[in-house]
Amino acid sequence: MAELQATMTFRTGQRVLRGIDGFGDFWVFAWRTLVWMILGSSQRKNWRLLTPQLYEVGFKSLPVILITGAFVGMVIAVQAIEQFRAVGLEERMGAVVNLSVVRELGPVLAGIMLAGRIGGALTAELGTMNVTEQIDALRSMGVDPIRYLVVPRVLACFLLTPFLTLFADMTGSLGGWFVSVVQRGVDSGPYWDYTQQAVDNFDLFSGLFKGFFFGAALGLISCYKGFFCKPGAEGVGQACTEAFVTSFIAILALDYLLAVFLQAVSERLWGFRSLL
């Protein structure tokens, strides 16, 4: 019994140490990416590497983001409208739907969709390159794989997640409007008036601001997992799962921290704002 306990304690300790080790490795990786981002920005050949990634991350994700956004807006409207109608406040639907979408659901769901769509693809791509020695081949030819592979991918995620968030906001807003106004007959004029009252530029900004963080997090995590994946097809598969789960948790945790931060900033600048 004591022996079993000792083994279990030992194993747990080992796992914790490995976790800490991995966490440290991740920050070294992130740091090297940042350094190369700055050092490499002066060379034109590096910018050429960015274009295909922008296309892959941005343009190709657009349909998924647009559809996700639309359904999110529609679902919030469906869930809320009867309650609001019961207390005679259905004209304020616009405020609730649009504020939820712009502040929270747009950026978070865009981030999560991208973690699934791009994160998985990045991890699988870099993981396969790792397993088939292509990353070693780059290094053997004197090319830093972080500069060549990681920086353009992370940069594309970082730069484009906020833009994709904007698109999710747009279709989310349209989806909410469609359900409230077109389907359930809320008056269009007051619907948008209340929206205008409730949604500030700062709300739009905070959504975009979060987008940068989510993009950087999912890009770095996915590349890191692919870069250090275990050998074989199984290793690549496992790395993809880990990349998605870790990105997902990181996005939600960052969302919490940023929400606290942005709220504090907003209160400092404009004081408390009542929505009702």
Binding site: K45, T132, E133, Q134, D136, R139, S140, M141, G142, V143
Partner: protein, 268 residues
């Protein structure tokens, strides 16, 4: 130590190199000095650290202890940025070819050229054609790696490895997975490169036919240590049972005991 090119000792030297992965001691004190212009073949069973040894030479892996020297200068403690200049003087042929699948054959071969230095488009195209001709694959420029056979991939990878006219070419199992005829084409290429470009070569293999054909010197690894080292003839006449078993391709009683256990279990 004297500097760079005036150094007339061994071109590559490993001193007391140890490397461990987890609980597995892969290299256990390797001392090896390689002579310029020679082809050294490293043989040994799978998993004895041959590829790991090769990767230490260009510092794709760093030793836990011990040192690696290139032209008498220590390289294993240099930064990745400082190693670029060293690695440009090497060509590395990977076991799985490691061609970039997102690029054409021409782009793969041109890769080291476009990444290092200012070559004009025409210079690059000429070098690509020249290297492809050298490996006997003229006209395959626009193919993708996915459309090539295993032997063709190896030859394209070799063309890429020699694109910058390296001083040293490292071959990681160049003939593995090829039929005997294709394997011999690779052997001839290794000999041709040595003759034409005067390269120093290190070949890791477990193909004895290939080893005898290309080697000036053979080094045998077992359990992370060098157990035999000499000209090819010495391996043909060696009386060391470990060397004999490998060279003749005979399994030891120990290796076969695994089969006995399995067949006993299935008999019961």
């Amino acid at each position: 130590m004297s500097n760079g090119d005036t150094y007339d000792g061994a071109i590559i030297e490993l001193r007391g190199v140890h490397k461990r992965f987890g609980s597995l001691q892969v290299l256990d004190g390797i001392d090896l000095a390689l002579t310029r212009g020679q082809t050294t073949v490293v043989i040994g069973e799978s998993g004895t650290g041959k590829s790991v040894l090769l990767k230490h030479i260009v510092v794709l892996l760093r030793p836990d202890s011990g040192q690696v020297y290139f032209h008498g200068r220590r390289v294993d403690d240099q930064s990745e940025a400082a190693l670029v200049a060293v690695r440009r003087r090497f060509g590395f042929l990977f076991q799985l070819s490691a061609l970039f699948d997102s690029m054409t054959v021409a782009e793969n071969i041109a890769f080291p050229l476009t990444e290092h230095g200012d070559y004009s488009e025409t210079e690059i195209a000429r070098t690509v054609a020249e290297k492809l001709h050298l490996v006997g694959l003229d006209g395959l420029e626009s193919r993708r790696p996915g459309e090539l056979s295993g032997g063709q991939k190896k030859r394209v990878a070799l063309a890429r490895a020699i694109a910058l006219n390296p001083e040293v070419v490292l071959y990681d199992e160049p003939t593995t997975g090829l039929d005997p005829v294709r394997a011999d084409v690779i052997n001839e290429l290794i000999l041709r490169l040595k003759r034409n470009l005067d390269v120093t070569a290190v070949v890791v293999t477990h193909d004895m036919t290939s080893a005898y054909k290309v080697a000036d010197r053979i080094v045998m690894l077992q359990d992370g240590k060098i157990i035999a080292d000499g000209p090819p003839e010495s391996f043909k006449t060696s009386t060391d049972p470990r060397v004999r078993r490998f060279v003749d391709g005979r399994a030891s009683r120990e290796d076969l005991s695994v089969l006995d256990v399995q067949s006993n279990a299935s008999d019961a």
